[in-house]
């Protein structure tokens, strides 16, 4: 039932006291709303039972294995919630005098210095609220750089065809056109295509390394050098940083600007789709262009401006800082090494049942291809994903990256035990057996969930985007 369907006229709770000041004249009638909003009317017990029911129809990292490739669904430590809910953080107004917010300043400065060391950058801004927001901000830094050089020829960004959709979308928002670079037979950047693309029209390159196939590009130094040689800058999409913390740094690979996903690599909760945090780090050449908050610190003369208000998702930075301090240099390295180990361990077992797109040592994630199964048995990546739900796990990422047909991307993360991985491999084995014996059964999957497969075509054709009372 929808909350509006539980609603009954007159039901309410008493959260606020009666008015204790004399009443003033209201604004003129033409400035007042005519009818009250039709929000739900219910008691607190009905409200809480409603959300308890909804919680039963949700699956989080706390519920079970969640190998959603590219999302790094690692454990969200409880202590992060405790430190972030300190009233001395939660009760601080963003515009209070700086001397009364020294603790907040320290959180941001400390997080900046730690993350600059992790990434090999010189400065960082926490204003972007998500990865895509960080990408957008990073591209604005590159735009400012060329603008101040007086170079107006640079209208293009090089992006590999394996990139996450947010990369070209962010480039388009900055008015850049995209030069797509194909991946070679090994799943890495096609170096000949890259050499041809590096002209004086290139503002920069956007790359993630390891890439979305879970492969570390061994040509990384040559790639960044080629872009620098033609006058462009290198942007690192930090979504896959979980593979290399303490092992390698984008700053050493030749990148000038990076964004991080605190809600991926640094354990802050995904929240059903946010709030995240996408801080942008950069080398000294771009440092003075970082976004500012004109009301907190005043306008910085060369800043690109602002991408949102104040300093971004501060509460998320507190959580990430707690995590980084808990792990330290030793823990971060162990986390990345174990993420890579777990992925290879799982891949080793799963490839007995389904082919991997690139049969090669992987980093923190790997990609399966169901192309042959689709062709031979009419079982798609979607069917396998839905089948896995009935084995108690969240499916891997489907149909991404686009360069692999019928792709399933698995990222187990480091916070899974050996048994958890073995169990997941057994689920794949069971699905494979089902495909061999009774493929049609998978078309009906999932069977164990409150709803079966939804009609997405109808949802888009005849959109119903809100509840309307009769």
């Amino acid at each position: 039932m929808l909350i509006f369907e539980i609603s009954k006229k007159g039901r309410k709770s008493d959260y606020l006291p009666a008015c204790d000041v004399p009443l003033s004249a209201l604004p003129q009638a033409s400035k007042l709303r005519k009818d009250p909003p039709k929000l739900p009317e219910l008691s607190e017990i009905e409200l809480t039972r409603h959300y308890t029911r909804l919680a039963k129809q949700a699956f989080g990292v706390n519920s079970g294995f969640y190998p959603l490739g590219s999302c790094t669904m690692k454990y969200n430590p409880r202590v992060n919630e405790v430190t972030a809910s300190n009233p001395n953080f939660m009760g601080i107004h963003p515009l209070q005098p700086l001397e009364s917010a020294k603790g907040c300043r320290e959180v941001l400065d400390l997080a900046e210095s730690l993350l600059c060391e992790v990434t090999g950058m010189n400065a960082m801004s926490f204003q972007p609220a998500a990865g895509a927001h960080g990408e957008y901000t990073g591209l604005l830094l590159i735009k400012k750089y060329h603008e101040l050089r007086g170079d107006h020829l640079r209208t293009k960004i090089i992006i590999p065809d394996s990139a996450h959709g947010t990369n070209p979308a962010s480039a388009a928002m900055v008015g850049y056109s995209v030069v797509n670079i194909p991946s070679d037979a090994n799943g890495c950047v096609d170096m000949d295509a890259l050499k041809k693309a590096c002209t004086d029209e290139i503002a920069g390159l956007m790359l993630t390394n390891p890439n979305t196939l879970g492969l570390f590009d061994p040509n990384i130094l040559e790639i960044t050098q080629l872009v620098h040689a033609c006058g462009g800058l290198n942007y690192y999409d930090g979504a896959n940083l979980n593979a290399i913390m303490g092992k390698s740094r984008p700053g050493d690979m030749g990148f000038d600007v990076v964004h991080l996903n605190l809600h991926k690599t640094f354990s802050t909760p995904h929240g059903g789709g946010g709030p995240g945090s996408g801080p942008v780090g950069c080398k000294n050449i771009l440092k003075s262009y970082l976004p500012d908050s004109i009301m907190i610190e005043g306008r910085k003369p060369e800043s690109i401006g602002q991408v949102r208000s104040f300093y971004g998702n501060f509460g998320i930075v507190v959580r990430a800082l707690t995590y980084i301090l808990s792990l330290g240099s030793d823990g971060l390295k162990a986390a990345s090494e174990t993420a890579v180990l777990n992925a290879n361990y799982l891949m080793h077992q799963v490839k007995e049942y389904f082919p991997v797109a690139y049969d090669h040592v992987c980093m923190h994630e790997f990609v399966l291809t169901l192309e042959k199964t689709k062709h031979d048995k009419n079982i798609s990546a979607l069917d396998v994903a839905k089948g896995l739900i009935d084995y108690g796990m969240h499916p891997p990422t489907m149909y991404f990256p686009l360069i692999v047909h019928e792709a399933l991307m698995l990222e187990p993360t480091e916070t899974e035990s050996r048994e958890s991985l073995d169990q997941a491999a057994m689920a794949f084995k069971a699905i494979k057996e089902k495909i061999d014996m009774d493929p049609d059964a998978l078309h009906a999957a999932p069977l164990s969930t409150p709803i079966g497969r939804p009609d997405e075509v109808n949802a888009a054709r005849n959109p119903i985007l809100r509840y309307t009372s009769k």
Binding site: F89, G131, M253, H263, P269, G273, P275, G305, R308, L341
Partner: protein
Amino acid sequence: MGGYLPSTQNERNDMLKSIGYKDINDLYKDVPSQVLLKTDLSIPKGLSEMDVRSKLDGIAAKNIAFPVVMRGAGAYDHYIPAIVGSVTSKEEFSTTYTPYQAELSQGVLQSIFEFQTMICELTGMDVSNASMYDGSSSAAEAAMMCLDRRRQQVLVSQAAHPETIETIRTYCWGRNVPFNTIPVKNGLTDVEALKSMINNKTACVFIQQPNFLGQIEQADLLNKVTHEAGAKAIMGVYPTSLGMLKTPAEYDADIVTGEGQPLGLALNYGGPYLGFMACKKELTRSLPGRIVGETKDNKGNRAFVLTLQAREQHIRREKASSNVCSNQALCAMMAAVYMAAMGPEGIEQAAALSFHKAHYFAQELTKIEGFSLIYDGEYFNEFITSCPIDAKQLERALMEKGILSGLVLDNTMLWCVTEKLSKETLDDVVKTIREVCLI
């Protein structure tokens, strides 16, 4: 330390061996030696949970959380019912990700659908998305939504929040579109100035209601001018005020944006906050961000799914309407729980209390010599007064008494009063100010 790794070092060694490797660095063989770190990162080693808590508590103790907050300017200290935190800290909601697999996430999808409905009810608009990052970026994305081949100019009222103006300016620079601000006259957006600036190249006009100065705008006049020029009217609204004030839909706005932080989110030094965006039906397919829709499953049951995904980055890539992926989902849930808990009466009450207490405080404050209202227009719960002593000095004196004063703007103060401040507190503040100013 730790890293929250379930497996022990021995188990990991076994796993490595079982797949045919001797050393963990065998898995990193593709990393060129020049970029493979040979020493540890120069950051401290990990701390135990006990020590981490102590360290963070120590840092937090360097902040002052004021018991009495009389500052708004984009972040508001409203009362948050306890049920909001209790529902949204359920781990099934906080530890899940975007509900791509509808069969597994009806709870999350339904809660977003309910949030979308509530935003529509509060603002009067037809369609809402699942959330944006914050009010300022939501306003900027709304402006971008209005651009087309013929109309590329964006106009923003100078009476909007300075950081909203700045964010829209930045997004316009990013897209290489002309950006201009509309001057203010007597605390309101100057209608005559708008008439002279707007033309057939204007894509949209953004105004804030109530505006940054606290004044209630003549949005009907402004939006009329905007529409007559063929441009779109975007209104950025303070959601609590909609418990009392005319909705943007009643002002014929095309797109509504706003900062949802007053709807159950703590001040949190500026974030995480909650952008919302709603629009007229005709603009549905240009909306950025995620949207949840209702449909049926293969057995005819009602089901909720992410829909109209052909607008989004994972399908359209460089042709997407925006790049938004993760938004502020859990914050949207906080706002939904707040709106459901408060109900129509509660929202109206929060608005009325804020209004009447602000007006009472203004009345009492302006009885003190040297304090007078800068603008004489109608206001909701924020207003600017002059100050008989140096405003920074007054701010400091009040801070020492645990009061966060109005925001200092040159030598005036932008005050804000919400339902949290009792008459007794307000009278005490006035008394304290009187004492400070007599020194």
